[in-house]
Amino acid sequence: MSELEKKKTEFEARIREFVGLPEGPPYLCPDAVNEAMIRHWCDAMGDQNPAYLDADAAAETVHGGLVAPPTMLQSWEMRGYPMHDATRLLPQNNQRKLHAAFDEAGYTGVVATDTEQEYARYLRPGDRITAETTIESISEEKATALGIGYFIVTRSVFSDEQGEEVGNLSFRVLKFKPAQEAQAAQESAAAPAKPTRIRSPYGHDNGWWWEACQEGRLLIQKCSGCGELRHPPRPMCGSCQSTEWDSIEASGRGSVYSFTVLHYPPIPGYDFPCPVGLIDLEEGTRICANIAGVEPEDIHIGMKVECMFDDVDEGLKLPFFYMVE
């Protein structure tokens, strides 16, 4: 491992320790929900909904009185100028510490990318809101137009004085090395980001199978109704129409039913020539996967193989079928 890779590994280990941590203690929003802030917000947004602005008219609505625009949710906890001045934030603020770690490593840029909000109820003047923010996730390193960086997602849950959730939001920022620095860094040592294999999307019907692969387990779906094994997975048994199913772990032993060797076009992220086989597993199902550990010209139909899981990309293990003597 090169020095640069080592540094990156250490850095990633350091930042990932923050995932799951609260930003800090629960934060009691400085002002109760109030008409003045609502009015400023509505002015700024050009929203003239009387339910937010006119107490008499609001009394006639389903709300029975003034309410705050739901999209104001985050504004109640905003901390104004201190957000731009780290020295005025509490030293134990984990998000601040996380950003500082990024800054030290050269990821000095920050840009908010998107937010998603959910509302449990309308807020009314007088509500006193507490926000609890957690560092939810940090992505893999990404190459973006701004520069190389990581997406950090925080989630804030807002609750009222009774402790009932009134809404929550996720907020995503990109911490990045401004492009020029990134380029300089790349020129100095690092190789360009290696293209990765195409991943299967994980859905209801197949995600569990790929997740087991990441644990190095080759599973076969088994109908709980009639016991039939099936691959690829699907939500219903074609023999008995049961939607109940379980899975068994395959021995990984099988034989080559058919195969091909890919030459063209060379798809980035794969090694060419690339042998791919249809493997008849000894349990009776068939699976498509790469064949490894043998020269392409020595692969033949009927060849005995055994499954091993290899790391092909960061966070991606795939089954490979190796020739058995």
Binding site: R197, I198, P201, G203, P232, T260, Y264, L278, C288, I301
Partner: protein, 390 residues
């Protein structure tokens, strides 16, 4: 004629753009030009058209084609799924619409810039398909199977293993197609025949497929005009009566990757299409003098001849030896040059060739053609037609 659809409708107009590698115009314009040519060919006006059928993959919407042509009303519009497997299915849809009186004249069309625009052969793009709706499952791309050639290769290898077929057997299909294209001025490979040696020396794409086992990628459009057999008699061209039309999808069907059947040396869905075609038409393979057999990749031409009953399972390599499928043979195939030689227009150019053979106007005309069998895309849920003289 066990099926009421037999002989109820006919193809009365065919139209196409030139076939190229870079059309230099929009896919919509290609579709419009082909549709206009098909209407002209039939001696009709755009206002006579009241139905449209195309592929789900088609980018030009029926209403855009209608607007372009100035068609005032449409009473039937539908699309057929599964790539090239849709080709003959569009004609079946049109025939059903016409036979039931839902529409009077239906345009079937397909046009694309498949070479200068998005190339199917380039494989799936994008590293992380993060929209599950786009592809509910993908059991192949993580392992590198991302192109149609790769999906087909898996079947081809097993077929070779089961029946002793060789790459040269596949190559004979390419040689026949290119021979026919060589005398078709509209074919991309006009005047450029190949030898079996050329085929064998061409580079690997995905073993066991060489470059010359794979059809070309083309820009162009083809349109067909379908109306009732009764009305067809009064129109400009001799009609190509639709004796039979069928679609087929079989057990454990996938799109190009039906790998989980007990035996993958056949194409069950094409067998299903064939059975219906023979039953509906009352014809037998002996009644077919020439055929257009979908040829995106050569191995499936052999498989189709078996599934359609032209020869027994595993015997296609003997059947096609000695030039039987070439112009002076007993069963010339793909007399326009096929998709390897003329153009890859998702099978629609093959239907047009079937019509020309029935009319007697093909550039490589076969003698005494009464009936032509045409198939659509293979490895996918597919379709077929038998067209005949009135």
């Amino acid at each position: 004629m066990s099926n009421s659809l037999s002989e109820r409708a006919a193809i009365v107009g065919i139209g196409a753009t030139e076939f190229s590698k870079a059309s230099g115009r929009s896919e919509l314009q290609l579709a419009l030009e082909a549709a206009k040519a098909a209407i002209d060919d039939a001696g009709l006006e755009p206002a006579d058209v009241d139905g449209m059928v195309t592929f789900t993959m088609e980018s030009s919407e029926e209403i855009a084609v209608a607007r372009g042509l100035g068609i005032p009303k449409l009473t039937h519009f539908s699309r057929v799924h599964f790539g090239g497997g849709a080709a003959c299915g569009t004609v079946q849809q049109a025939a059903m619409a016409v036979a039931t009186g839902v529409s009077k004249a239906v345009i079937c069309y397909r046009g694309f810039n498949e070479r200068s625009g998005r190339r199917f052969g380039a494989g799936r793009q994008g590293r992380t398909p993060d929209i599950p709706a786009a592809l509910p499952t993908d059991w192949y791309a993580p392992f590198g199977l991302v192109t149609p050639a790769a999906w087909v290769a898996m079947f081809a290898r097993r077929y070779m293993h089961e029946y002793g077929a060789t790459s040269e057997d596949f190559g004979r299909v390419a040689v026949a197609d290119r021979r026919h294209a060589a005398t078709n001025p509209k074919a991309w490979f006009y005047d450029r025949p190949i030898s079996l040696e050329d085929h064998q020396k061409s580079r690997w794409i995905v073993e066991p497929l060489h470059l010359l086992d794979c059809c070309q990628e083309s820009d162009g459009a083809v349109a067909l005009l379908v109306t009732s057999s009764e009305r067809a008699r009064d129109l400009r061209q001799p009609p190509a009566i639709i004796r039979a039309s069928a679609q087929g999808s079989s057990f454990e069907q996938e799109m190009m990757t039906s790998y989980y059947r007990d035996d993958i040396s056949g194409l069950d869905e094409m067998g299903l299409v064939g059975d219906q075609l023979w039953e509906m038409s009352g014809l037998r393979p002996d009644d077919i003098r020439t055929a257009v057999i979908y040829d995106h990749f050569t191995p499936f031409v052999l498989t189709q001849l078996e599934e359609l009953g032209f020869c027994k399972r595993g015997e296609a390599r003997h059947f096609i030896a000695d030039g039987r499928i070439e112009l002076d043979g007993e069963l010339p195939l793909n007399t326009h040059g096929g998709q390897l030689g003329e153009a890859y227009i998702h099978g629609m150019n093959g239907i047009a060739e079937g019509v020309r053979q029935v009319r007697g106007s093909a550039v490589n005309q076969v003698d005494a053609v009464e009936n032509v069998l045409v198939t659509a895309g293979t490895g996918v849920p597919t379709s077929g037609l038998i067209l005949g003289r009135a």
